[in-house]
C-alpha cells in the first residue's frame, strides 16, 4: 500500500513537472553576413554590420550571452594568416563600448522583467592593411539566454 501511494505521488509530481518549469527562455539570431570588405572598410579600419536583431523571450529575468564555437576566424586564402577571434566585436546598438568575441560566453545584455523583445546589436570586424590578406573569414556563434 505504501508503495502504491508513493507511485501515485511520483506520478503526480511528474505531471506537475511542466508546471514547475516556469522558466521558458528562447533566443533567436540571424546569420551575420558582412558585405565584402574593400578599400573603404580598410580605410575605416573596420567592416560594419549594423542593427542586427536578436530576438529573446523569457518568463523570468534573463541574461544574454554570445560565444564563438571556433578558436579563430580562420585562415586567409593563401593560408599565411590566421585572423584572431578578437577582431570580431559587438555592442548593443547605442552603446559606445565594443566587446570582442571569445570562446567563452561574453555578456550582451540582461533584463529584470519577463516578456519578449528584440535587442539590436552592431557587429564589426577590425581590419588592418598589413595583416588581413584576402580570404573569407568565418565563425560559428552561440547565443545563450539564461536566468540569472
Amino acid at each position: 500500500m505504501r508503495c502504491g501511494a508513493a507511485i501515485v505521488i511520483a506520478l503526480g509530481l511528474a505531471c506537475l513537472a511542466p508546471l514547475c518549469a516556469l522558466a521558458d527562455t528562447r533566443v533567436s539570431a540571424n546569420d551575420l553576413r558582412f558585405s565584402a570588405a574593400g578599400e573603404t572598410e580598410f580605410r575605416d579600419g573596420q567592416a560594419l554590420l549594423s542593427r542586427e536583431p536578436l530576438d529573446w523571450e523569457s518568463d523570468t529575468a534573463w541574461r544574454l550571452y554570445v560565444e564563438s564555437l571556433d578558436l579563430s576566424l580562420g585562415l586567409s586564402r593563401d593560408g599565411r594568416y590566421e585572423k584572431a577571434l578578437a577582431d570580431l566585436q559587438f555592442r548593443v546598438s547605442g552603446d559606445s563600448q565594443w566587446w570582442s568575441l571569445r570562446t567563452e560566453p561574453v555578456f550582451i545584455a540582461a533584463g529584470d522583467a519577463p516578456g519578449r523583445g528584440t535587442l539590436i546589436v552592431d557587429w564589426r570586424m577590425l581590419l588592418s592593411w598589413g595583416r588581413d590578406r584576402p580570404g573569407t573569414y568565418r565563425a560559428r556563434l552561440r547565443f545563450t539566454i539564461e536566468q540569472p
Partner: protein
Amino acid sequence: MSAAGALCAALALVWPVAVRAAGEDESDMSLTVGGVAILELDRSELDFDTTPEQFIAGMTASEATRCRVVTNSEWVLTIAGTASKWAGPADKPVEDVLWRSGGGDYTALSMSPAEVARGEPTAGLDVFLELAVKLRFEQDEPGEYTYRSVHYELTTP
C-alpha cells in the same frame, strides 16, 4: 522501490527543470576580404629644363616621384609607356624617358611593363622613382616635347 525512493526519483526529474532554464541559438558569421591595392603618386606632372651641359651629359637632371603603396596582399609595382613617341617638333621615342629606383643605372622606359619594386602587405610604403630625359644633339630639335603616357601599375597576385 520504496516510497521514499520513488519520491526522490520524481523530485530528481522535476528539480533541474524548475531551478534553471536556458535557451540557445547558433548562427554563422562570415566576411570576405578582397585584395585591395592603392597606389598614390605625389606628382602627376614632371617638368624638365635643358642646359648645354645636360646635352653634353646626354640627359636632364632627374625629378623624383613618390609612389605610396597601400595593400593587403603581396604586390608588384611596374612602370611602362603607353605611347611609342613623344609629342613634339621631332621624333623622340618612349625610350628617351629614363627611370630608376633606389639608385643605380637608369633604365629606358619601354612599352612593356618593367618591375620597379615588390613587397609584402603594407599600410603605407613609399617607393621613390627618379625620372630623367635622354637628350640627343642630333635628334632633339628645339621646341617643347611632352610625353603623357607614363603608366604606373600596382598589381597583387
